[in-house]
Amino acid sequence: MNGPTFLGTPAFPSAARTALADTRLRHNLAHATTTIRRKREEAVAEVDDWEALREAGRAVKERTLRHLDRYLLQLEERVTAAGGRVHWARDGQEAARIVVDLVQATGEREVVKVKSMTTQEIGLNEALADAGITAYETDLAELVVQLGQDRPSHILVPAIHRNRAEIREIFLRAMGEHGRAAPADLSDDPQELAEAARRHLREKFLRAKVGVSGANFLVAETGTAVVVESEGNGRMCLTLPETLISVVGIEKVVPTWQDLEIFLQLLPRSSTGERMNPYTSSWTGTTADDGPGAFHLVLLDGGRTDTLADPVGRQALNCIRCSACLNVCPVYERVGGHAYGSVYPGPIGAVLTPQLRGTAAESDRSLPYASTLCGACYEVCPVKINIPEVLVHLRARVVDEGRTRKVPSPERLAMAAARSVLAGPSRLAAAQRAAAAAGRLLGRDGRISRLPGPASAWTEARDVPVPARESFRAWWRRTHR
């Protein structure tokens, strides 16, 4: 992951401080995360075999990762046999260059895009723009972000930090500059806003010759790619263009078609809190007389093999990007996605970004500390990634690496104080058990009754929010009712 992501991103604590001062952002976020938490809980509660599905999902991912080379080769063979072409990229830059070359080979100057974390990660839109190719984002939230010249702040709802009035303003101001303008009498009714997006983008879909997507899953056994979405913009991009280019991380492969029966149940309920998302598309290579005649699959490493090399950190590659962990995270809810300085925010971002990108930058080194270790993320994760365990493990790594740096960083001071608690997962578990005994950490109503021991390390080192010098715990009690 060499994404130029967010240049000059400050380390998490100071970015968080800025975000916390933005009351509108906090209000929008709190509203959104509360709504979606409730929906997810309901959707999960009606499934009687949820825990069995989670365990199966985790196990399939473990099996895949431990034999990843074999599954990727099988996938490559099947995709190729079905008429697709497979490209390999060591890093984001290489992946972006492959895509640029492929688009240039078609002679086209514009592409339509389905929302994809991976293409954001590799800075694809910027690379295309440098080559004189315009990339149109077609997901409603991505459109809001793109038109607002903004950055996504949530995996699932990238414009979660924008409310309807702001979206209306952005549409009125910017749509006309990029195509069909929004009607002058546009209101902030979500239905009308969606209608404006439909009209604005329809023209682009109908003339598009090249589509660019990611994929939620790749099936090794059959060479099938799967995209899960809501709006139908994905279907447009996957179906109407003549050429389809999908950029997918190597960890997205699953062994068999049957395995999808697990993930197609886990993902929608965890993600949007729906029994099933409105549209899921799957395709295998190319099909005569249906959809693009040319299909390119770009397989991206971009730090994934570094993540794979750490037997504890490896589980972060299980992630199916549902964003449930963001929505339950007390830290994310207060500071939003931008403070994490990466396309992967929230708890998963805190464990994935430093592994994909390394910890050379202060902003990435501070990420494993962007957590209270309350454990809510682990509880909701549909593929059972033990995020607190990985966080603690990464903190230890950051500190060890820090020994070779001369300047004592706040992380090291915090670690020195909390060393005995943080030394290993078993001690962390003990600390969490102790904390849990005092009451549920994160109640269903979203209140924290008590923070666990390790959290205080973060609190002390970080002198989190407003007003200065108030402890996280005291601040949380005071503000989060």
């Binding site: 075999d49 079905a82 969606a194 447009m236 179906t239 697990i262």
Partner: protein, 214 residues
């Protein structure tokens, strides 16, 4: 070293902790979740569940008898005010009996997408439906057509037979052929991007009518 060789060798290096002789099947995958349905495919229970689930998404659902199907299809289109509908190859001709043939396009030769954008409705069958999640799956088989047909028009009428309705996701996947391009449709197109309210209708058909022939 080219990228492919390098990525593969990085993976092998990263997996140094995996014992030499370990095979994928040595990593256990417990499938303790429900694979079969609570009720048999096509039973009144699954049909009723599908109906409720689809209605939750804002789709209109009607149960019809084989004999009444042609009339109900025609009524659905005329109530919509549809001037013309595209109907893919292989759709049961008997079900089209009550339609004015001049208002039916058969996608042969292929209707260009710009024209498809002016077609009011599309009428198709489906490959399978999943009751628990309120999902229709189209696989491009007879009566379903290429994917663009059920995407560009704003109104989709989907006609299925009760025996195509299964209870759960695993049963549906077992019936499907992944080599075919598949579209899983759970209600009309929708977005939750604005303050997480589900709003129907962005790019796919904004109105979905489902007729279940029982």
């Amino acid at each position: 070293m080219n990228a492919r060789t390098e990525v593969l060798s990085r993976i092998r290096r990263a997996l140094a902790d995996v014992p030499e002789g370990e095979r994928p099947e040595d990593v256990p995958v417990p499938r303790a979740y429900a694979r079969g349905g609570t009720a048999a495919a096509g039973s009144p229970q699954v049909v009723e569940l599908l109906t409720t689930r689809l209605a939750d998404y804002g789709a209109s659902v009607h149960l019809v008898s084989e004999g009444a199907a042609p009339t109900v299809i025609a009524q659905t289109l005329s109530a919509r005010g549809a001037a013309c509908a595209v109907v893919p190859q292989g759709f049961p001709p008997a079900w089209l009996a009550a339609l004015d043939p001049h208002r039916v396009l058969d996608d042969r030769p292929r209707v260009p997408v710009r024209e498809l954008d002016r077609v009011d409705s599309v009428v198709t069958t489906a490959a399978v439906a999943i009751a628990e999640t309120g999902t229709l799956v189209l696989d491009g088989g007879p009566g379903q057509g290429r994917r663009a047909l059920t995407l560009v028009p704003d109104h989709h009428v989907c006609v299925l037979r009760a025996e195509q309705v299964v209870a759960r996701v695993p049963e549906a996947l077992a019936r499907l052929d992944p080599v075919r391009p598949l579209t899983f449709v759970s209600g009309p197109s929708a977005t939750s991007d604005i303050e997480l309210d589900r709003v129907e209708g962005v790019h796919g058909p904004r109105t979905l009518h489902v007729l279940i022939v029982v």
